[in-house]
């Protein structure tokens, strides 16, 4: 029976600690979605927020970091408790290319992991640059390795892999390799750096952006970035679109719609 409210209710089946600060909540139903699409997650009585789908399909799951009241409350919910979900929404990654480079910063890997699995399954050769603050915060390293990707680690503190930025490792790989597509999700300053690399190396890219969201369905304008809406035109944008966004890496809207600089 179709539900005339857009909200589907799921029962939590499991909460998995992925890192000391990142968890995955698995739900008792399926969610068929393109890699990179998102859902609006409603924690009843607390908040509703956009989350990328880290496990599409039968074992539906989302992977989150505790950043506010909503995610904090989600993190203490137990198996058997219920949450509401709207979606899937937005445009995900378009999987193309035979030799691809995936660059993930922080929780960005949550949106990219399904894409890595799908790309490897379609016989692409996949290099993953996985960057985190420190070794314990590396997300889905084993998952990517198990999928068959070559994983290159960078950490800010040098506790694993190369010490430094994911963009530096990406530059090294792009210059040495024959990549024909780059995929990314992570901090916006990293995306800006990769966009510049995409321009100089002439390797096209697709990046997932993040903005404060209210409606998730293209009406409220809260997630606007130069007339594009992250909820319906994105969250994944091509380098052609990204390079025309003058607000990219510079400004975003806060909860009241005021413009604030991106740190």
């Amino acid at each position: 029976m179709p539900i005339d409210s857009g909200v589907r209710v799921f029962v939590i089946t499991e909460q998995v600690d992925e890192t000391p600060t990142i968890r995955t909540v698995h739900l008792d139903g399926s969610m068929h979605a393109q890699p990179g699409q998102f859902v609006m997650v409603w924690v009843p009585g607390k908040d509703e927020f956009p989350m990328s789908i880290s496990y599409p399909g039968e074992r539906f799951g989302i992977t989150y970091k505790i950043v506010g009241e909503g995610t904090r409350h989600l993190s203490i919910m137990r198996p058997g408790e219920k949450i509401g979900v709207r979606g899937p929404y937005g445009k995900g990654y378009s999987i193309e290319g035979e030799s691809i480079l995936v660059v993930a910063g922080g929780t960005g890997m949550a949106a990219l992991a399904p894409m890595v699995e799908q790309a490897v399954a379609s016989s692409a050769s996949v290099d993953v640059v996985l960057g985190a603050r420190t070794q314990s915060e590396l997300l889905f390293r084993t998952r990517c390795e198990r999928a068959g990707a070559a994983v290159h680690i960078t950490t800010d503190d040098g506790s694993d892999g190369s010490k430094g930025l994911a963009t530096d490792k990406a530059k090294e790989l792009l210059e040495a390799g024959d990549h024909d597509m780059m995929y990314t999700c992570g901090p916006e300053r990293m995306i800006v750096g990769l966009l510049e690399l995409s321009r100089t190396t002439v390797v096209p890219m697709q990046a997932s952006l993040e903005r404060y969201m209210k409606c998730g369905i293209g009406v409220c304008d809260s997630c606007a970035i130069d007339g594009k809406h992250v909820c319906v035109d994105g969250p994944v944008f091509s380098h052609e679109v990204l390079s025309k966004l003058s607000d990219l890496g510079r400004t975003r809207l806060n909860t009241s719609g005021g413009r604030i600089p991106i740190d």
Partner: protein, 302 residues
């Protein structure tokens, strides 16, 4: 004047479609894009004196027949928002500034600052159904509507439009009061107070519990309201509520509207709905021998 051009209180529009307040108008750039998609004018987001976050999420429910929203008037405050208004004005089509406030003095002050940006008109939000002490809570009686219109009229020298609530026993009385208070036009209707409950969770979906229903579900109510208002006032009427096709726009026009606003239709149809409605209006007028929108206005009252 081409057949689709209309004049509302001296504001000339290339066609009778406008972007309604609350949809794709937090940023100037989005408003410009809507004018590129064909809108004859744009109404801004409703803004107040100070920044306001609005209600927590969930603040929207998607129904098959429309949307229920309880955004709660989030806005960055009039002074910050004027930057976005300036961008919208670059579109070349009339920009109508929507304002709200908790008292007549406050609304008059916001309207004055909005008018200082050079907007073509000011729309008074006397009808938001989901913000405590604002919107419909100060615009639900004829006395309040009249005194607010008077106060705003005294503080600005651009036309003022009163956007009215249908959540009342007589919207025609509110419209008469607005005219009495000096309003130059009526905008009808705002959303209908509504609610959605999630049975599996046994609770309302919206954090605010109540919201406002818009879209196809409210069109027939909106048309009835415009029809009643047309009999009660002599100032122009702008019809809003569920306009999705040219046929819907024709219903409003024949009930008495000079122009129509669209919002929820962008969600269901995309921004291309503006040019689709205009194309459909043009074809209808040609096929039925109407030379202007004005000729069709209110003909259902014969």
């Amino acid at each position: 004047m081409t057949e689709l051009e209309v004049d509302i209180a001296g504001i000339r529009m290339r066609n009778p479609t406008m972007l309604a307040s609350g949809i794709l108008n937090e940023t100037g750039r989005s408003m410009v894009d809507v004018t590129k998609a064909g809108a004859g004018a744009v109404v801004t987001k409703s803004v107040g004196l100070e920044p306001r976050e609005g209600h927590p999420n969930p603040c929207v429910v998607e129904l098959e027949c429309g949307l229920i929203n309880a955004m709660g008037l989030p806005n960055p405050g009039i002074d910050a928002y004027l930057e976005e208004v300036a961008v919208a004005q670059g579109s070349g089509v009339p920009v109508i500034g929507s304002v709200f406030g908790g008292s007549e003095d406050e609304i008059a002050e916001v309207a004055k600052r909005m008018a200082s940006a050079g907007v073509a008109a000011v729309e008074l939000n006397l009808s938001c159904p989901h913000a405590e002490g604002l919107g419909a809570e100060i615009g639900s009686t004829p006395d309040m509507v009249e005194s607010i219109c008077k106060a705003v009229k005294a503080s600005v020298d651009v036309p003022i439009f009163a956007k009215l609530t249908p959540n009342t026993s007589s919207i025609a009385s509110l419209a008469s009061a607005a005219e009495e208070g000096g309003a130059d036009g009526i905008v009808a209707i705002n959303t209908l107070r509504a609610m959605a409950i999630c049975p599996e969770l046994g609770r309302p979906i919206l954090s605010n519990r109540f919201g406002g229903l818009s879209g196809k579900a409210v069109r027939a109510v909106g048309v009835r309201c415009v029809y009643e208002i047309f009999d009660a006032v002599t100032i122009p009427i702008i019809g809003v509520g569920g306009v999705t096709t040219s046929n819907d726009a024709l219903e409003y026009i024949m009930a008495g509207a000079t122009a129509v606003q669209m919002g929820t239709a962008i969600w269901s149809e995309g921004a291309g709905v503006f040019s689709d409605v205009c194309d459909g209006l043009g074809e209808f007028m040609k096929a039925n021998g109407y030379g202007s929108v004005e000729e069709m206005k209110g003909i259902a009252h014969r």
